[in-house]
């Protein structure tokens, strides 16, 4: 570790992995509820388990982003972090707030939680992914601002690289677009319109800048390719991301009361959204092929390559599958959407976080790379989780196609639940594949505890 203050990244990474495990356990509960409808009912209804599943995901990805930034920025800026103490304080605030929020979801009915936490002052709850109580949302803003202050001050007093600038732009964008989660007009069309300014402009906009910056950083470190080349690629990728992704928001404006011209804008621009992901894949493989050194951390390189490929498949191809308006008319809000969501989040944001964690954690623990034994385990977990998510996606896609066929495209459309019963086989297969994913995740966690002492110190 070049700078002492990079050490604050460690608790962020550990908490991120802990929340990842929680996310997957609740995912398995949800998957089982799809086929055994009354599983854990009425103690943990589906919507409660889903909030824990999606909110744990969002929080652990944010934890990973923050940890990654705290690790990267001192090295990029070539100076110690502005305030490691502030970073640690924010970590505990964020972790405690997340734990209290999850406890709130699980222990009291959601409407009671809303009444207890000041939802009457400003109604922001009960919208997908933004279910957090008002006080949690305010807490997220405080943590994000303190984090951004800390990171920005570090860059300002140090060297300003292109990677830092792209990362900062992504992180500031993340904070700014989160502010739309406080805007919840009574007009449901306006509500939905601006809800996407947080949700879409995060995952198909500014988060991709963070992704690109992390990937570029790890590739510079592991391949030794010239910074000029890598940063040029980074700019090209994030350009493609934003010129397709911003107007691409229109693919959410087909059927929510917004004017029909969005069907054209959304279809055309979001059809181009796979291009930046394809560029990312080409970028990662190109840099690794042109490497000037053999970095001992093979696992980190594998995660970096995997991010490119899986983000392209999940976000790019599976997104394109249902993004054109005439297709989306039939697939909107079906298991096709769920299939895309799972592989896109895993391929892009889960994998890029695991990339930076894989690269940074050994160094934070005082070695350039983990022992061979530990890396082999980590690579096993890579393949188990990645293959599992591919099959989860395929089974959900099959379920979705049948759902569309039975419930939407048919001359005699079946009621929702009748169609659901007919496709239960695919939900069972998804659930068993989810168990494989969990095994992969447990192998991943175990890899941190195996054979760490064999390698010499960094």
């Amino acid at each position: 570790m070049q700078y002492k203050s990079q050490a604050v990244a460690k608790p962020y990474f550990i908490a991120a992995i802990g929340l990842f495990v929680a996310q997957i356990l609740f995912g398995l509960i949800l998957g089982l509820q799809y086929v055994i409808g009354d599983f854990l009912f009425p103690h943990i209804p589906f919507n409660v388990a889903r909030m824990v599943h999606t909110n744990a995901l969002i929080v652990w990805l944010l934890m990973g982003f923050m940890g990654g930034a705290y690790y990267m920025i001192p090295e990029e800026a070539e100076t110690e972090l502005f305030s490691p103490k502030l970073a640690l304080a924010m970590f505990w605030i964020f972790l405690v707030a997340a734990a209290l929020t999850v406890a709130g979801y699980l222990l009291v009915p959601y409407s009671t939680l809303a009444a207890m936490t000041g939802n009457d002052i400003l109604e922001t709850m009960g919208r997908e992914f933004l279910e957090q109580p008002l006080i949690t949302k305010v807490g997220i803003v405080i943590v994000a601002l303190a984090f951004l202050f800390n990171i920005s001050m570090t860059v300002l007093k140090g060297k300003k690289t292109s990677i830092s600038l792209v990362l900062l732009l992504g992180l500031w964008g993340l904070a700014v677009f989160f502010l739309f989660s406080f805007y919840n007009p009574v007009n449901v069309v306006l509500d939905k319109f601006f809800w996407w300014w947080t949700v879409h402009l995060w995952v198909e906009g500014v988060w991709e800048l963070i992704l690109g910056a992390f990937l570029a950083f790890v590739l510079i470190k592991t391949t030794g390719v010239d910074r000029e080349v890598i940063e040029k690629w980074l700019y090209v990728i994030v350009t493609l991301t934003l010129i397709t992704g911003i107007i691409g928001t229109g693919h959410h404006y087909y059927w929510i009361g917004t004017p029909e011209y969005w069907q054209w804008w959304g279809s055309i621009f979001s059809a181009l959204e796979p291009i930046p992901f394809f560029a990312m894949t080409v970028f990662a493989f190109n840099m690794v092929n042109r490497r000037r050194r053999e970095h001992p951390n093979k696992a980190a390189v594998l995660w970096a390559l995997g991010t490119g490929v899986m983000a392209f498949l999940g976000a790019g191809i599976w997104g394109f599958l249902h993004t054109l308006a005439p297709v989306n008319y039939y697939t909107h809000g079906t298991q096709i959407t769920a299939a895309h969501g799972h592989m896109a989040f895993y391929g892009a944001y889960v994998m890029v976080n695991l990339t930076i964690i894989s690269y940074a954690m050994p160094i934070l623990r005082g070695r350039a790379a983990n022992s061979n034994k530990s890396q082999v385990m980590e690579m096993w977990s890579f393949w188990l989780m990645t293959i599992a998510i591919v099959f989860i996606t395929l089974f959900l896609t099959a379920a979705g196609i049948l759902q569309v066929w039975l419930q939407r495209a048919s001359d005699t459309p079946l009621p929702f639940m009748v169609a659901q019963d007919k496709i239960a086989l695919f939900y069972w297969m998804r659930e068993w594949t989810g168990v494989v994913f969990l095994i992969g995740l447990l192998v991943y966690v175990a890899s941190f505890f195996v054979g760490g002492r064999e390698e010499k110190a960094a």
């Binding site: 009354d38 109604e123 449901v188 069309v189 040029k232 934003l242 929510i256 004017p259 809000g333 939407r408």
Partner: protein, 142 residues
């Protein structure tokens, strides 16, 4: 990428392209806002509908259902549910949910809504159904 295309060119295209497309997005959003009053039926929004929306949110209905296709895919689309079952049908369904669920089946919780609350929810759902959403969903089953 060849040497003729430099990093600073890439950076300039990034900033220029981002600003241009963000402004275009703002322009389209502005135009959308001028058209929405004709489509979103805002003139019909009553305090009762607002109350219904609040109930929709504070019970996290979107955690299982979709509304105009957005939400979770565990339970039926509700944007057109009043057309599917009628006002009274919707209220009767919500009221009749067994507290302990139905063995083996996906079950909706018993929320113990008052009659006024049920009226508000139905008013909200009727309002959503009245929005001009380009003829979505494709059929009555949602």
């Amino acid at each position: 990428m060849s040497g003729a295309f430099t990093k600073s060119m890439a950076r300039n295209i990034f900033y220029g392209g981002t600003v241009f497309f963000f402004l275009l997005f703002l322009a389209l959003s502005f135009d959308t806002h001028s058209q929405l009053p004709k489509r979103d039926m805002r003139q019909n929004i009553t305090p009762q509908i607002a109350e219904g929306k609040k109930l929709w949110e504070t019970n996290d209905c979107v955690g299982c259902h979709t509304l105009m296709g957005e939400g979770a895919y565990f339970a039926p689309e509700l944007g057109n549910v009043v057309a599917r079952y009628g006002d009274e049908g919707v209220k009767a369904f919500i009221k009749a949910r067994p507290k302990e669920g139905i063995p083996g089946r996906r079950s909706m919780p018993q929320f113990n809504f008052t009659d006024a609350q049920l009226d508000a929810l139905v008013a909200f759902l009727k309002h959503v159904n009245s929005v001009n959403d380009a003829n979505w969903p494709p059929n009555i089953q949602g």
